[in-house]
């Protein structure tokens, strides 16, 4: 599935006309990014599934009015990341489980990729706002200007969150590797 901007416009056009195959192509192209972004912000598989699912359902509801000239990805990712930040903030206030349990879950569910264990655990220790900008920059490859637009933040704030988040992440990963 190539997923060029032309393909995406064609899928949206087809889905707007009622073709399920086009909607499926659009879904399968964007699901991994949406789910991973949600997961890396919330660090909870069930919550990530709910958040990504609701973003796609919002897309289905908004399909008729969607402007095909606009890219679909940023629209979807804005929903996913903002909801993931909301969820993480709510959980921070009403903590359900400790960080140890989270990192244990990550470690048991991802065999064969020890480097990622360290990183996932380190990422989980950052604030949701820092996690979000790092995920948008490095997983979804948005520029800081685009991230500012997606999260409704000044560009300087995005840059400072990125810098601080990455510094903190590097320090935590280095500690774990040591």
């Amino acid at each position: 599935m190539a997923g060029s901007p032309g393909d995406e416009r064609a899928w949206i056009r087809g889905a707007q006309r009622g073709f399920e195959a086009d909607l499926e192509a659009l879904f399968r192209h964007h699901w991994p990014g949406a789910y991973r972004a949600a997961y890396l912000v919330v660090h909870d598989a069930g919550a990530a599934e709910d958040i990504a699912q609701e973003a796609f359902l919002a897309a289905v509801r908004a399909l008729d009015g969607f402007d095909r000239r606009r890219p679909f990805g940023p629209w979807l990712h804005r929903i996913v990341v903002n909801r993931a930040i909301d969820w993480s903030r709510a959980r921070a206030l009403r903590r359900e489980v400790g960080d140890d349990a989270l990192s244990l879950t990550a470690a048991t569910e991802r065999p064969g990729n020890p480097h990622s264990h360290t990183l996932a655990a380190a990422l989980a220790e950052l604030s949701p706002e820092h996690r979000a900008v790092i995920v948008l920059r490095h997983l979804l490859e948005y520029t800081p200007g685009e991230i500012a637009g997606l999260l409704g933040l000044p560009r300087g704030t995005v840059n400072s969150r990125l810098r601080r988040g990455l510094d903190e992440l590097a320090a935590r990963v280095a500690e774990d590797v040591r």
Partner: protein
């Protein structure tokens, strides 16, 4: 780091989600092709402005148009008396019966006082008591984030969280004191005032449910509990619903009267004026609103079922309507309790300006 590695559960979650999305797509009605009316609308607007500027009659038309625009927010009239409180990302909303709304910017976790005359709300590290029109009566600053304020039956006490600590303050903002330093350690914080008393049931950090006489500072009973998420009293204070995984109903002495099945989860609500419980059960990605009733809760009646998740339940004060926040469909459903009658209000995210990015949380339907 390899950002391209699949996240845990990604494949299975994708297949489950595709089924839900496909179903939603199948239920969607394709909209007819719309003609582009914009040039005509611009022309009509220009003529209207010109007429308003030049003639008295035009001026009257313009006033009428302006007035109708100022009242256009009446999207969500309630089918029964009372007011609904909604907590959204940017603040709290009070919805009147005629559908007009007032936005209280910056407040969270707002809760009605017993007769709906006041709200208690959190604003960062502050607990605030205010009127539904936004007039602040008092504020109390704490060192940690404030959350979950709840009024006692007479409005003389407010229990609330400050960080992980559970505290209580008098309804006039005086006499603030600590009840327990950790109400969060064993799961979500959960606490509820027993109706007609100053007894508060809450979870503590030692995986216990505790009933405390707040004024006498005397513990009435303790019961073990694992991951309690919600505590709710019936109106007469003789039944306590404990949701900690499988929910159960306790009697006034804390002993279990009946378990309520294995799959039921939040949200939940006692039917007003009765011991019957409304619960949401989730199975195969579908949610159902089920009323459990009878002496041992052996009778079960499903009153609504839909794909995805329900975010909240609220009974109308006159007990005739149940409001279901159908989050996945971005709808509120008003279900008539005595007969099968439904009113659906769509685009709830837009109604409360939460957009698709944030949730608006249904708090309560209060007071005639």
């Amino acid at each position: 780091m390899n950002w391209n590695d699949p996240a845990p559960g990604e494949g299975d979650a994708g297949e489950r989600t595709w089924e839900v999305v496909r179903e939603a797509f199948g239920e969607r009605l394709p909209s007819p092709r719309r003609r582009d009316w914009r040039p005509i609308a611009v022309l009509v607007a220009a003529l209207a402005v010109l007429a308003a500027a030049l003639t008295p009659a035009g001026h009257a038309v313009w006033s009428s148009f302006r007035d109708s625009n100022e009242n256009r927010d009446n999207l969500l009239s309630l089918p029964s008396p009372g007011r609904v409180l909604v907590n959204a990302q940017a603040g709290s909303w009070v919805v009147q019966q005629d559908g007009s709304k007032r936005f209280l910017s910056g407040y969270s976790d707002s809760a009605w006082s017993p007769h709906g005359l006041y709200l208690a709300a959190a604003r960062g590290n502050q607990l605030v008591a205010l009127e539904p029109n936004g007039k602040v009566h008092w504020k109390l600053a704490r060192r940690r984030l404030v959350g979950g304020p709840t009024w006692s039956f007479d409005g003389f006490r407010i229990a609330y969280l400050s960080g992980h600590a559970l505290r209580v303050v008098n309804g006039d903002g005086t006499g603030d004191r600590l009840l327990t330093p950790n109400a969060v350690g064993s799961g979500l914080p959960a606490f509820a005032w027993r109706p007609e008393t100053h007894q508060l049931v809450f979870t503590n950090g030692r995986r216990q449910i505790v009933l405390l006489d707040v004024d006498g500072n005397k513990i009435l009973w303790r019961r073990p509990s694992s991951q309690t998420e919600k505590l709710l009293w019936s109106d007469d204070g003789s039944r306590l619903l404990v949701a900690d995984g499988p929910p159960r109903v306790l009697g006034p002495d804390g002993r279990t009267i009946a378990p309520l099945g294995r799959e039921s989860v939040l949200p939940a609500a006692f039917v007003p004026g009765s011991h019957a419980v409304t619960l949401v059960s989730v199975k195969n990605r579908r949610s159902s609103v089920i009323v459990h009733s009878g002496p041992r809760y052996e009778r079960r009646r499903t009153i609504f079922s839909g794909a995805g998740t329900f975010g909240g339940l609220a009974w109308s004060p006159d007990r005739r309507w149940l409001l279901v926040d159908w989050r996945t469909a971005d709808q509120w459903l008003f279900i008539r309790s005595s007969a099968v009658k439904r009113i659906a209000v769509r685009n709830i995210g837009n109604v409360f300006d939460s957009g698709p990015e944030h949730y608006a949380v249904l708090a309560a339907w209060c007071c005639r």
